[in-house]
Symmetry: C2
Subunit: 733 residues, 2 copies
C-alpha cells in the first residue's frame, strides 16, 4: 500500500506543473489589440460551444445515472457505480475544458512570440500543449487515487481477493463515464470543426479563391473555433478515456490473475498505476528537455521535440523493470518486456503513419501524382493507400499481442492456454497498453501543440501580421504534424490493446455480477460444476461457449463490424449535412453583401459559429446513443456470448477502419500540401484543385469518424461491463 501513494503524488505533481505552465503562459503578451480581439472571438466561440455541448451531455449523464441507481436498487450493480460514472465523465470533461482554455489563450501569444523567433513560438505552443497533457494524466490519476482510497475504505469483504476484484471492477465503471464524455466530445467536436473547415474551404478556397483563414471568409472564425473544440477539447477527453481505460482494465485483470495470492494481487493492481505515475514524472522531465538555442533551425526544433519524447520513453522502459521487481513479481523481467512491447508497437505504428501520410514519402506523392488526372483518381488512390496502410499497424499489434502474452507467461508456448496462463497472458496484453500510454503527459503535449500553432497561424493571417509570421507558424504546424503521427500511433495502438483487455474485464465483471445475484456455481452440460468465485477465464469461455461455432458469437461479430460502418456513416453524413448548410450560408453572405469580398464589410462570423454549434449538437446525439444502446440490447437478446462477439467484431473492424480513415485523411492532406509546395503546377493548378477535393473528403475521415472509432470500441466494452449485471439477471429470468 505504501507504493500506492506515489500515484496521488504524481497526480498532484502533474496538476501543479500544469498550473505553473499556465501561469507563465498568461504572463506573455497577447500582441496587438486586433490579435486580442480575434483571439477573444475564438475563445468565446469555443467556450460557448463547449457549454452547449455539456448541456446535452449532462442530460444524458443524468438519465444514465438514474438507470444505474435503479440497477443498484435492484441489486444489479453496486451503489458506487452511479457516482463513479459521474466522476469519470466530470473529470474527462474537465480535462478537455482546461486544455482548451489554455489553447485559446496560447494561440495569439504564440503568434506574437513567433514574431521574435521560431524558438520562442515553439516554447509557448509546446508548454501550452503540455498543460493539456499534464492535466489529462493528473486528473486521471487523481480520479483513480480517490476512488481507490474510497473503495478501499468502504468495501468490506472478509476475502481480500474478492475485495480487490470488487474494487477494480467498480472502478472500471468510471471508465464508462469517461468514454461517454469522450465520445460526445469527439463526435460533437469533430462535426463542429469539420463542417466549418469543409464549408470554409469549399466556398472560400475553391469557389472564391481567397486564401485559408482569410478574414473575409465568414466561416473562418468557426473554423478556428473548431480546431479548439475538436482537436483540443475532443482529443483531451479522448486520451483521458484511453489512459484511464488502460490502467483500470489492467488493474481488474491483475486482481483476477493473482486472486490466490493477496500480496501479489494488491501489487498487480498497483503495477499499472505506478508505471503511469513514474511516467508522469518522466514526462515532466521530458517537457523540460524540449528547448533549443534562440536561433534554432527547424531540424534542431524537431530534434529537441523528439529528444523529450524519446528520453521519456527510454527511461520508462528502464524504470519498468525496477517497479515490477520491487513489487515482487516473480516474472518481473517477462512482464517488463510486455510493457516494452507495447511501447515499441506504439512507436512502429507511429512510424508507419508517418510513412504513409508524410509529404516526403512515396504514398502521399503518388496520391499527388494521381491529381494530374482529376479528383476521381485522387480519391481512388487515397482510399487505396489508406486501405493498404492498415498492414503495418495490424501486424504490429498482432505481434505485440502475442509477445506481450507470451512474455507474461515466460514463453511457455506448450501450455499457453492453461487457465493460469490465460489470466497472466491477458494481464500482459493489458499492461502493454499501459506501457504504450505511460508517457502520455509528453506525447499529448506534442499532439496538442499542433492545433495551437495552427490557430496562431490563423490569428496571424486575420490580424494582418507580416507573412513571415504565418510562414513560421506553418513551420511549427508541420513540425507538429510529424510528431503528432507518433502520438496517433499510440492512441490507436493502445485502443486495440485496451479493447482486448476490456473484453477480458467483461468476463471478470460477469463473475462479479453472478456473485451479486447469488448464482455461485457454474453447472456445465456434462454435469461438472465450478465455483464462480474460483472460475477461470477458460471456465467462463467453456460455460458460455464463447467459441467460433456458437451462432450467437458469429452473429455478434457481424453486428460489431456493422456498428463500425454504421457509426462512420452517421458521422460522415452529419459532417456532410452541416457542411452543406455552412456552404450555403457563406455563399449567401458573399452574394448579399458585396462589401465582404472587397474588405469593406465585416462578415457575420456569429451566424457560421451558430450553424456549426447547432449542427454538432443535433447530430452527435444519435450515433453516441447508438453506441450505448446496442451493447445493452445485444446482451438482452443474445447474452454473454453475443456481447463478446459484438465486442470482438467491433474491435477487429473498428481498429482497422480507424487506421484506414486516419491515414487516408492524412495522406490526402499532405498530398495537397505537396502540390502547394510548388510541385505539379503548385497552388491554383488543375492538380491542386483535384487535391483539395481529396483533402476535403479526408477532413471528416481523419478528424471526425476515424478518431471517434477508438472511443466507440471502448465505450461499447464499457457499457457491456457496466450492464453485465442486467445481462446476467435477464438470462436467469
Amino acid at each position: 500500500m505504501n507504493y500506492f501513494y506515489l500515484v496521488p503524488i504524481a497526480s498532484i505533481a502533474a496538476l501543479l506543473c500544469a498550473f505553473y505552465f499556465f501561469r507563465s503562459l498568461m504572463k506573455k503578451d497577447e500582441g496587438t489589440p486586433k490579435m486580442k480581439t480575434i483571439a477573444g472571438f475564438i475563445r468565446e466561440g469555443a467556450m460557448s460551444y463547449l457549454k452547449q455541448q455539456y448541456k446535452v451531455v449532462i442530460i444524458v449523464f443524468i438519465i444514465l445515472s438514474l438507470i444505474f441507481v435503479t440497477m443498484s436498487f435492484f441489486g444489479l450493480q453496486n451503489k458506487w457505480v452511479p457516482f463513479a460514472f459521474l466522476t469519470g465523465g466530470f473529470f474527462s470533461g474537465l480535462a478537455g475544458f482546461f486544455g482548451m482554455k489554455t489553447a485559446t489563450y496560447a494561440s495569439a501569444r504564440t503568434a506574437n512570440a513567433v514574431q521574435k523567433s521560431l524558438n520562442s513560438g515553439l516554447r509557448i505552443a509546446f508548454r501550452s500543449g503540455a498543460v493539456m497533457g499534464l492535466v489529462v494524466v493528473g486528473l486521471a490519476l487523481l480520479d483513480i487515487s480517490l476512488w481507490y482510497l474510497i473503495l478501499d475504505f468502504f468495501v468490506d469483504n472478509a476475502d481480500h481477493g474478492h475485495k480487490l476484484i470488487m474494487i477494480t471492477t467498480t472502478m472500471l465503471t468510471f471508465g464508462m463515464g469517461a468514454s461517454t464524455q469522450a465520445l460526445f466530445a469527439r463526435v460533437g467536436g469533430g462535426i463542429y470543426t469539420k463542417a466549418a473547415d469543409v464549408g470554409a474551404d469549399l466556398v472560400g478556397k475553391v469557389e472564391t479563391g481567397i486564401p485559408e483563414d482569410d478574414p473575409r471568409n465568414p466561416a473562418t472564425i468557426a473554423d478556428n473555433v473548431g480546431d479548439n473544440v475538436g482537436d483540443v477539447a475532443g482529443m483531451g477527453a479522448d486520451l483521458y478515456e484511453s489512459y484511464c481505460g488502460s490502467i483500470l482494465s489492467t488493474a481488474a485483470l491483475g486482481a483476477s490473475a493473482f486472486a490466490l495470492n493477496p500480496t501479489m494481487q494488491e501489487n498487480a493492481v498497483f503495477a499499472p498505476m505506478l508505471i503511469a505515475a513514474i511516467g508522469v514524472f518522466l514526462s515532466i522531465l521530458g517537457i523540460y528537455l524540449v528547448k533549443t538555442k534562440e536561433d534554432a533551425t527547424v531540424k534542431q526544433l524537431m530534434d529537441s521535440l523528439n529528444r523529450g519524447v524519446n528520453i521519456s520513453a527510454l527511461f520508462i522502459a528502464i524504470f519498468t523493470f525496477g517497479i515490477l521487481y520491487i513489487l515482487g513479481f516473480s516474472n518481473w523481467i517477462g512482464l517488463s518486456f510486455s510493457v516494452i512491447t507495447g511501447l515499441l508497437a506504439g512507436i512502429i505504428i507511429g512510424q508507419g503513419t508517418e510513412y504513409f501520410t508524410s509529404s516526403s514519402h512515396k504514398p502521399a506523392i503518388e496520391i499527388a501524382n494521381s491529381a494530374k488526372t482529376g479528383p476521381a483518381t485522387v480519391i481512388i488512390s487515397g482510399l487505396g493507400t489508406g486501405f493498404i496502410s492498415t498492414v503495418i499497424p495490424v501486424l504490429s499489434i498482432v505481434v505485440a499481442i502475442l509477445i506481450a502474452y507470451l512474455s507474461a507467461i515466460r514463453f511457455d508456448v506448450a501450455n499457453m492456454l492453461t487457465a493460469e496462463n490465460v489470466s497472466m497472458g491477458l494481464y500482459g496484453i493489458a499492461i502493454a497498453a499501459v506501457g504504450m500510454l505511460s508517457t502520455l503527459g509528453i506525447t499529448l503535449a506534442t499532439d496538442a501543440y499542433g492545433p495551437i500553432a495552427d490557430n496562431a497561424g490563423g490569428i496571424a493571417e486575420m490580424s494582418g501580421l507580416d507573412p513571415e509570421v504565418r510562414r513560421r507558424t506553418d513551420m511549427l504546424d508541420s513540425l507538429g504534424n510529424t510528431t503528432a503521427a507518433t502520438g496517433k500511433g499510440f492512441a490507436i495502438g493502445s485502443a486495440a490493446l485496451t479493447g482486448l483487455a476490456l473484453l477480458a474485464s467483461y468476463v471478470e465483471e460477469i463473475r462479479v455480477a453472478l456473485l451479486r445475484v447469488n448464482d455461485n456455481v457454474l453447472e456445465f452440460a456434462d454435469g461438472h460444476t465450478v465455483d464462480v468465485a474460483k472460475a477461470s477465464f477458460v471456465d467462463f469461455m467453456n460455460y458460455y461457449q464463447v467459441t467460433l461455432m456458437n451462432p450467437k458469437v458469429l452473429a455478434g461479430i457481424f453486428l460489431g463490424s456493422m456498428m463500425v460502418f454504421l457509426f462512420c456513416g452517421l458521422t460522415m453524413n452529419a459532417v456532410g449535412r452541416t457542411a452543406r448548410n455552412m456552404v450555403e450560408e457563406v455563399r449567401y453572405q458573399f452574394r448579399e453583401f458585396k462589401g465582404i469580398l472587397t474588405g469593406e464589410d465585416t462578415p457575420d462570423y456569429a451566424r457560421c459559429v451558430s450553424i456549426s454549434t447547432k449542427g454538432a449538437q443535433r447530430e452527435m446525439l444519435f450515433p453516441s446513443l447508438l453506441a450505448v444502446t446496442v451493447p445493452i440490447v445485444t446482451g438482452l437478446i443474445m447474452g454473454v456470448s453475443g456481447v463478446m462477439g459484438l465486442l470482438a467484431g467491433g474491435l477487429g473492424t473498428g481498429f482497422v477502419m480507424a487506421i484506414f480513415m486516419a491515414n487516408s485523411g492524412g495522406a490526402w492532406d499532405n498530398a495537397k500540401k505537396y502540390i502547394e509546395m510548388g510541385n505539379l503546377g503548385g497552388k491554383g493548378s488543375h492538380a491542386h484543385k483535384a487535391a483539395v477535393v481529396g483533402d476535403t473528403v479526408g477532413d471528416p475521415f481523419k478528424d471526425t469518424s476515424g478518431p471517434s472509432l477508438n472511443i466507440l470500441i471502448k465505450l461499447m466494452s464499457m457499457v457491456s461491463i457496466v450492464m453485465a449485471g442486467l445481462t446476467v439477471a435477464w438470462s436467469l429470468l
Copy 2:
C-alpha cells in the same frame, strides 16, 4: 441413392436447355455489316483477354496442383484432391467462357432486335443471360455428380459414416479450384473493365465532352470488352463458386451432423443437391414465363421478369417441404423453414440494395443533391450512405443465422448449444444458403442480361443506329439494374452464410486430417479424452480453445479484418494505376491524331485493349496469391485457432465491406443518372460534373473490389480447408 440421379438429370437438362437457347440465339440476325464488325471486335478482344487470363491462371493451378500432389504423397491430403481441385477450376472457367461467348454473340443481335420492338430485344438479351445462368448451374451439378459417383465408387471404408465424411470433405476441395478461378476472373476482369471504363470516361466524357460509347473514343472498345470479361465472365465464375460452395459445405456438414445414422446421413448429403436440382427445373420454368405482348410497356417487361423470378422462388419454397419430407428428415418442417429463411433474407437484402441505390429513392437523390456543392460532398455523402446501407443486410443475415439455426433444432433455445444441436443448427445455416441460391439459374439470367443490354447500347451508338435504339437499350439496361439488385442480394447474402458453413466445414476437415495422420484421440488439459472420429464441434472448440479469450483467435480476427482492407487497397490501386495509363493513352491519341475527334481518323482501339489486358494480368496476381498464402502462413504460425480467427474476422469485415462498396458504387452511379435525367441542371451542369466524379470512384467499388470480397472470404476458407492436413501435421512436429 435413387433420388441422387435427379442431380445429374437436372444438370443435363440445364445444359441442353442452355444449348437450345444458344442455338436459337445464333439464328437471329446480327444486323448491319458495321454492327457485325464492331461486335466482332468486341468478341475478339474479350476472347483474346480471356485466353491471356487463363494462361496466367493455368500456371497458378499447375503450381498449386503440384503442392497438393506433394501433400498427398506425404499423406497430408488424399490422392483425389489435386484432380478435384483442377476440375473445379476448369468447370468454373468453362462457365465464364460459355457465358461470355454467348453474351458477345447476343449484344449485336439484341441491338438489332430492339429496332423492331423492346420486347424482342428483351427476349434475346434475357435468353442469352439464361444461357449463362443455366451453364453455371448445369456445370456445377455435373461436377458435383461426377465426383460423387467417382468417390462413392472408389472410397472404400468399412464405416459408412466415415466414408461419407471422406467423400464430402474431399469434394469440398474442388470448391477451392472454383474459388481460385473465380478470384482471378473477378479481380482480373474487374481491373480490366474498370480501368477501361474510368479511362474512357475521364478523357472522353469529362475532358472532351463526347458521349459515352462514342466511336471516336479510343478506349470505347476496351470498355465494351470489359463489360464482357468483368461483368459476364467474372460474374459467371463467381456464382459458379458460390453455388458449389454452398452445396458442398452443406453436404459436408450434413455428413457430420447425421454421422450416427447411415440412411439419414446419405439423405442429409443429398438434400442440398436435390434442392439445387429442383431449383434448376423451376428456373427453366421461370425463364419460359418471362414473356410479354409484342407492344409491352417497360412496366410490363419489369413485371414479366419479376414474375419469372418470384414464381421460381415461391415454388422452390413449396418443393423444399416435399424434398425434405421424402428424404425422411424428422424435423423436415423446421429444416424447410431454414431454407426459406435463406430465401427471404436474400430477398430483403435485395430490396435494401434497391432502396439504397435506386435513383427513385431518397439516398441516391440525397447524393445527387450534394453534387450542388461539388465533388467533395458527393464523395462524402456517397461514402456515408454506403456505410449506413450495411445495416439492413447485416440485420437480415444475423436474424437469418439465428432463425435458420433455431428452426433446424426445433427452437430448443434452452439447449441450443449442446453438441448435437450445434451440428444440426450449423447444417440449418448452411442449407439456408442453398435455399438462397437454389434459383440461381434464373436470378443469374436477370443479372447477366444487364451487361448484354449495355453492350447492345454500345454497339448501337458505335454503329450509328437511330438514337431511339439507344434509348430502348438504355431502358432494358436500367430494367436490368433493378432486377440485378436482387441478384446481388443473393450473391452477398449467400457468401455470408456459406462463409459460416465453410468455417464449420474447416473443423470437419481438421477431424479428417487428424485421422489421416493417425492422431485418433483428443487429450484435454483436464485429462479426459475424446475419440477424434466421434468428437463434436463443441469438443473441437474446447480442445483447440477457439474462444474469444485465446490470443491467437483475437490476433486472427485482427488479421482477417486487415486482409479485407489490404485486398481492397491493392485492387483499388490496380484500377487507379491502369486507368491512369489508359487516360494518358487516350489523351495521347487525341493530341497526336487530330482527325480522331473530327471523325476523319479511326482511333487505335487495339492499344487501349492491350493496356487493359496487360494491366489486369500484371495486377491480378499479387492480391490473388495473397488470399491463398495468408491462410496457410497463419495456420503454420498460429494453428487451428488462429486460422478460425482469421476466417471469422475476414468474414465479418468482408461481408460488411462488400455491401458498403457495392451500395456506395451503385448509389453514385444512379445519382449521376438522376442528374442526367434532367434534374439539378442535367447533363453538363456543374452538379453533373461532380456526380461523374462520384460515379468514377464508384466504378472500382462496385465492380472490382466489392464483388471480389465475396470470393476472398470463401477462398480463404477453402484454402484453409484444403491445407488443414498441413496445419495439423505441422502442429504435431
